[in-house]
Symmetry: C3
Subunit: 332 residues, 3 copies
């Protein structure tokens, strides 16, 4: 039995075999591979694509999905072992995970950071607690990384570009009125690096570097394949010659939990928006973003609606890669 918590635990070749299967499933969506199987989808945070694509994907494979929302439709939950549960939480993850493992064949969990203390959030306790206590496979539906989005992104790139080795992938920070999760940024960095791209991280200043864990993995992936990882704050340098521009906003880790202090810095970088002028510097690059996306804040209508925009394809591919993933985990 294996979990899918982060792509860091999976080799490039195993990930590629999931992508290959996803392509098959895209061509032939209804396959009763998971007949008489049940999937639990646990959302601690909102979702549109993830919720519907997992639910529909399970159904297309003959399985049945149930959606649970702890703290809303379900009980608030405790994650620490040994704690004295005299506060708000009514249920310990140890029971929830073990009971759901009796009812279901797979548990998928979305649990965003709390945004108060990065040293706590970076431990990713909720998904790890489920993985520790569950006796069935656990899938990460976004915590501090978003590995399903990684698979969707890479499938989309391979559909348009074939093998992407050596191509220039730019992950650009963009403005957003609120400090956001670094999950998709961490993930984009890792998957582009893992699949042999030359990766450039464009951000306003050094405070917007991603966590050393993900920077280190990206460095390791690129170095070992003779590729490069570059961090720059220079927009022109970043976009120049790019094959793929991937946009995402995130909050600066040094200001974590003290967002009022970061606000002026973010507000000063609204010009990081992806627009046609910047895209003109690239090698006719594809543009993508994970959705939901604030139009005319992160990217102009012109770019997101343009012929090189992959946002809808990437969102569609969530369905296909997740089906391949569920299939791999439940019936390896």
């Amino acid at each position: 039995m294996q979990h899918f918590l982060t792509t860091a635990d999976w080799s490039r070749s195993r990930l590629q075999s999931i992508l290959d299967d996803a392509r098959d499933l895209k061509a032939e969506p209804y396959q009763a591979r998971l007949r008489n199987k049940t999937i639990a989808l646990i959302f601690f945070n909102p979702s549109l694509r993830t919720r519907s694509s997992f639910d529909i994907g399970a159904h297309q494979l003959g399985a049945h999905a149930v959606v649970l929302e702890p703290g809303k439709g379900s009980w608030p939950m405790e994650f620490e072992l040994g704690s004295v549960m005299d506060q708000n939480a009514e249920e310990h993850v140890r029971e929830a995970a073990r009971v759901l493992s009796r009812y279901c064949d797979l548990i998928a969990v979305r649990a965003f950071p709390k945004f108060q203390d990065w040293s706590v959030d970076r431990q990713d306790k909720i998904i790890h607690a489920f993985a520790e206590h569950a006796t069935v496979p656990v899938i990460n539906m976004e915590t501090i990384t978003h590995p399903c989005q990684e698979l969707a992104l890479m499938l989309t790139l391979q559909e348009r570009l074939g093998m992407v080795d050596g191509m220039k992938f730019v992950l650009t920070w963009t403005y957003h009125p609120k400090p956001l999760n670094t999950a998709v940024a961490n993930s984009a960095l890792m998957i582009a690096a893992k699949f042999g791209m030359d990766v450039t991280l464009l951000c306003p200043n050094e405070d917007y570097r991603l966590d050393e864990r993900y920077m280190g993995l990206a460095q390791e992936y690129t170095s070992s394949q003779g590729r490069s990882l570059t961090v720059t704050h220079n927009i022109e340098e970043a976009y120049s010659g790019a094959h793929v521009v991937y946009a995402k906003s995130w909050g600066a880790l040094p200001y974590f939990g003290r967002w009022d202090e970061e606000k002026p810095v973010r507000d000063a970088h609204k010009h990081f928006i992806v627009d046609a002028e910047k895209m003109a510097l690239t090698d006719n690059a594809f543009f993508s973003h994970c959705l939901p996306c604030r139009r005319n804040v992160k990217v102009t209508d012109e770019v997101i609606d343009g012929p090189n925009s992959l946002v809808i394809e990437e969102a569609e591919n969530r369905l296909h890669v997740q089906k391949a993933l569920m299939s791999e985990l439940i019936t390896p």
Copy 2:
């Protein structure tokens, strides 16, 4: 591909063929017509009948439904093209509709008016935005009209009365402690007129006339078939000789968004309640209402529980007409 946004876009004969099919589906509920199809049900507002009848109806046809609630389980949404999305909305309908169109074969949307400015609400932007951006059929599950309720009402009347041409249909305003949506009132007016009934609108005073758009359509439908549309504030005149009494409360459009000013007017008309005394003036009329219904405020227990009450039949028929409708839109 065709949407079902309002019955105004559909001919009487096409609507009749849906009603005919609904009768077949009522006799034989399980037919795998929509096997391997998926339906997205998007609720911006609460629902009991609509949610369960669409979900169950889809299942009975072999399809799978997913329920999404933007702003609750899903992301808050933007509907204007070209807007700079720096406020609350995280997702633009353009992405949501296109992505769901990749996952699903039909999108159904419930989006009530905001009740602040009728000149805005009457544009019915949300459902039209979904219809514009989706690449699959869109069904209106109640916005400023409620076309599925229209089909259910007409099927119920035809089951009891056969063809209803020339029969007297009374839409009576009733009291309700809050100003309500005009959707079902607009819809009742349109469908009764479209199917050749003599239509009487009974309301407290001229302020409670419905929007000119729906008054105009009802006038056009009745005139072209040699029938009449009458507006009256006289209870006795309205009920006299009626074959069908349909009750609904709604807020007066001239007071839209300034409900405190309307309150005394509404409060002065609690006697518009449908009761046995009024029903005695009719030609043994059937009574109906769309549900949910406040008992002993809009209608007395005696009438709603009486032998001529069609409320449960009409609610049941929601299931059958919606199945016929989904079937027609997905596999025309």
Copy 3:
């Protein structure tokens, strides 16, 4: 047609036949007994196990479940007949139950007490209103009793102990920071008594006796089978020689709705926690609890994680007994 509102309405032998069928279904979970059937699950309160086990159980039998949450995704509801509905409730249970009976083959309801006035709560109006107005079977998914939990508990005990007649069952009150529903306590008392166990109720003082209705039933069940019902406040006496220790917290009925006054009493009895020292007094007793369970408040990690803990088995068995129950009610 029969409802399942409380086990008090069902004979021991009929309950046993449900348990026997549950064992068969546990061995062979997928049986298309309820093909083309639909189940409505109505939650007025949160749920994890109940919601997922009913949904999954229905699916495993070939049926389809829809989840409704009045007041959240659905309309607030009125339960009194004859009321003038000019307050918050938009829908009367009489309509909701009759309409759902047209859409579905079974209605299951969770409705906790309001915790303001026990003389009101003990009437259990919501579930009885559904049972009165529905034209399909109604299942109690926890109100002031929790009969599905009773079945799961008894199946679990029989799996470990065979027939339990004459064995010592201890229901122990435990501390909890909030006053809780007596439902599971009432239920544990009834089912252990009904199946011929010697029942001991351990609680801090006379104020924590359960309602006379359930005390009376337990007395009747035990007396008629030559067994005993004992109430004690002495921990050592209760645990001594026990074969089963079942833990639950509940609020003291004499303080109902005036919980601030009860708080010091509860706070003074934190030592009622189930721990290894107390369990050592038993005849190697099994421990169980209905979940969710506050660890190290109601029971120590050592006991709940120990080899004699049945909590996960009992929770799993919810699935199996509920499938047998749905099967019995829909296709008797």
